[in-house]
Symmetry: C2
Subunit: 117 residues, 2 copies
């Protein structure tokens, strides 16, 4: 087993087209022991966003701080600290913190990618 | 997709033998869409603990609040807010908040159990 503070993990810019002011850290990935799913921590600064996109992998999300609009929901939807968010496979989704005044931080768990190192 | 506050999920006592002052909420389970892994939120009140135990399912954990001793580590180990903890398959582990002054709250993701409803 191991314990690691999130700040010990490398900070990476999210390079999805259209993503702004968004970083990710891979807390528990394949190289650090994950077998079937991985845990990442995302941070979207005020003014930032991750635009609508979709993929096979479902998301299990838990919001640590802040509040943001969840894009792709059928009605206007926000998620805030202490909310869980489930996004099924292939469903369009995104996160918009352009109205926010604090960072939107969340844990996002996805299945291991087939080609993941 | 859906957004749910953790307090909307049913609060259950953890009934593992020897567990004290510990509750769990299933945030994203099989009945609520999980396909291969599930997200739960545990809370161990000050004075509480989950004793050493082991099972096939690995754990990917993120600490939301508090600080507790992680049982089963080769040396004295604590985990606190903003730490991630990885516990491999079949490794003995437990959480001891008997020294703590605040609740130890954490997200714990495990694979779907084979017999899970």
């Amino acid at each position: 087993m191991y314990v690691v503070n999130y700040q010990e993990r490398e900070l990476e810019e999210v390079n999805l087209a259209g993503a702004e002011l968004t970083t990710v850290r891979w807390l528990i990935g394949k190289r650090t022991g994950a077998k079937t799913y991985v845990m990442r921590l995302f941070e979207i600064a005020p003014g930032g966003k991750v635009p609508l996109h979709q993929h096979d992998e479902e998301h299990e999300i838990f919001i640590l701080d802040g509040k943001a609009k969840i894009l792709g929901a059928p009605t206007e939807t926000y998620a805030k600290k202490d909310d869980a968010v489930f996004i099924p496979s292939n469903e369009e989704h995104g996160y918009d913190n352009t109205e926010g005044t604090e960072s939107f931080r969340f844990i996002c768990v996805i299945p291991l990618l087939k080609n993941e190192e």
